[in-house]
């Protein structure tokens, strides 16, 4: 470990402890019950925020520590949520009365259907598939897990197929069938009522033409069975311009989103940690 690294580490530890004490004292003055914990959590949040932001200067061990801590805690938290919400919350109350009592969950007794099928039996299916998935841990019987995976892939593909067909294919295609002459009552009526109002006839017509030409030319750009020359090439060119405008809008929103996150962290650092603003 270099001398510089030792000095930086000592500085970070001293600042961390100083901040912890300071925030704990502030919380105690404010009458917070667990003021030591509160001080520690605020300091931890500030330390991790600054650790992650330090990557903007360059990659460093403090950033790596924060990154690995985030990954580890996320995985652990997700696993614990899965256990308590799915296995304890949904499965155990339907399979075992004694275990339900142990976990303090209301027992779901289920019912007999037609006198021969008990509704809670169906919950043994996910238990079996879950055990099959865990067979991946065995080098000898790992292949059995593919059955459960096949079930997951099959059902997901089926659900996604319906989803895309309905909301992204049929609905989206039907919404491009828009009138190109909105409320058309003749050229005289059109010019006598010409206005740039957002709800006016002209704006509605221009919007519909953009949708119509944008979809048509965008599709032409992705049509590769004919050479993009002549009128077809010009339409393809217009299609790529429409795509570029779309990407530009997405990028603009992305910049806004990223700046919002920065604003969020700056607000935390200045208000919650340093207490400079209220």
């Amino acid at each position: 470990m270099s001398r510089l690294a030792i000095i930086v580490t000592i500085c970070v530890v001293v600042l961390f402890l100083g901040s912890w004490i300071f925030k704990a004292l502030q919380a105690q003055d404010a009458g917070v019950d667990h003021y030591l914990l509160r001080g520690f959590l605020v300091t931890c949040s500030a330390f991790l925020t600054l650790a992650i932001l330090s990557f903007l200067y360059k990659d460093n061990p403090i950033y790596k520590f924060a990154e690995h801590l985030y990954v580890g805690i996320s995985a652990g938290y997700w696993m614990s949520q899965g256990f308590w919400s799915t296995i304890v919350g949904n499965l155990i109350p339907r399979l075992s009365q004694s275990l339900s009592g142990f976990f303090k969950q209301p027992y779901n007794a289920g019912e007999w259907m037609g006198g021969f099928f008990y509704t809670n039996w169906v919950f043994y299916v996910p238990v079996i598939f879950g055990v099959l998935l865990l067979m991946r841990l065995s080098s000898k019987y790992g292949w059995i897990s593919r059955w459960a995976l096949a079930f997951i892939v099959g059902t997901t593909a089926g659900l996604q197929f319906i989803r895309y067909m309905r909301s992204d294919f049929i609905e989206q295609i039907s919404s491009t069938f828009v009138p190109l002459l909105v409320d058309w009552q003749g050229i005289g009526h059109f010019f006598s009522n010409l206005s740039l109002s957002a709800t006016g006839q002209l704006v509605a017509m221009v919007s519909n033409w953009i949708i119509f030409l944008g979809v048509l030319c965008g599709l032409i750009y992705f049509f590769f069975s004919k050479e993009h020359t002549g009128l077809f090439g010009k339409a393809s060119r217009f299609g790529i311009w429409i795509l570029m405008v779309t990407f530009g809008a997405s990028f603009g929103y992305t910049v806004m989103g990223r700046v919002s996150l920065l604003v969020g962290r700056i607000t935390f650092l200045f208000r919650d940690w340093l207490g400079i603003t209220s």
Binding site: Y77, R163, S250, R265
Partner: protein, 291 residues
């Protein structure tokens, strides 16, 4: 090396530093900037505003703490608006990191609702929010698509008990509330694919009014659904939250963040313009030199 070539080779850390200085500077100085309301946000506000007292709003807090800066202001603005209008809310989160955030937000709004306040010239008396009567919090369950489908049959299928361990049937607010048919509107605030699931598995299958709040990164992708009428309104990023806050006459962190956005965007636009000038000038110079 010309000034344009130097401009092209500038270390990105100078850009970060300038942006940080501008963001901190504008954060420290308080001033107002005008906020224009988009029709897609106004539609959501007016839909909620016209609901009758006692009607039920489903509010999906389907995002992680990483999206908190953008979506939390939306959640607070919508919650305050709904509760001041005496609407009842079913809270749910289909994001694994959501439960703690929802619980904290409910506590904050409960405190806020105790105070007398005036919004848009209407006086609202402070009142105590009661769990189970004014709201229920269903909690979290994994596999959002399946939960959305299951709630369409009966809320009790995926959530036999609420987040606080109480059976759903014991909650007075849930008496007679079976599925989305008893819900006036679903407002989903999400920072990921859960939005897609709400559009297709939720609105597509059960045909309820759906309003979306998305992160800025996602917003542009959901305008086609707005155009097709699959969603009734869209709040995109911090700007969407600021517009809702302004409509509700309840300025909060989103309105506050807009002035920082404006100046941060000006810095980024300036760097984009300078970068392009540098690029085209260098290109022209190379062409002249015949390289």
């Amino acid at each position: 090396m010309t000034i344009f070539e130097k401009m092209m080779a500038i270390d990105r850390r100078w850009v970060f530093l300038l942006l940080a200085v501008v963001v901190v500077g504008t954060y420290a100085i308080s001033f107002q900037i005008p906020i224009r309301i988009n029709s897609e946000v106004r539609t959501i506000y007016e839909f909620v505003d016209k609901l009758k007292p006692g009607e039920i709003v489903y509010l999906g807090i389907d995002y992680d703490p990483s999206n908190q800066a953008e979506l939390h202001p939306m959640a607070y603005a919508v919650m305050e608006h709904c509760f001041r209008k005496n609407l009842r809310i079913i809270f749910c989160t289909l994001s694994q990191y959501g439960p703690g955030m929802v619980d904290a937000a409910i506590k904050d709004i409960t405190d806020s609702l105790k105070l007398d306040k005036t919004y848009n010239g209407i006086d609202y008396k402070g009142r105590e929010l009661v769990n189970g009567i004014d709201y229920v919090f269903l909690g979290y369950k994994p596999y959002y698509a399946l939960q959305i489908l299951a709630m369409g049959q009966n809320f009790r299928l995926p959530f036999p008990i609420d987040y606080y361990g109480q059976p759903l049937d014991s909650r007075p607010m849930m008496q007679g509330v079976v599925n989305y048919k008893q819900v006036a509107v679903v407002i989903d605030l999400s920072g990921g694919n859960i939005t897609d699931a709400w559009i297709s598995y939720g609105q597509g299958r059960f045909n309820f009014p759906l309003a979306l709040g998305t992160t800025g990164v996602m917003a542009a992708d959901y305008y086609p659904y707005l155009n097709s009428g699959q969603v009734l309104g869209l709040m995109g990023g911090l700007l969407g939250a600021a517009q809702y806050e302004k409509l509700a006459d309840n300025p909060g962190p989103a309105v506050d963040g807009m002035r920082i956005q404006v100046f941060a965007h000006l810095v980024i636009i300036a760097f984009i313009v300078l970068g392009n000038i540098g690029y085209f000038t260098a290109k022209r110079r190379r062409a002249k030199e015949g390289k």
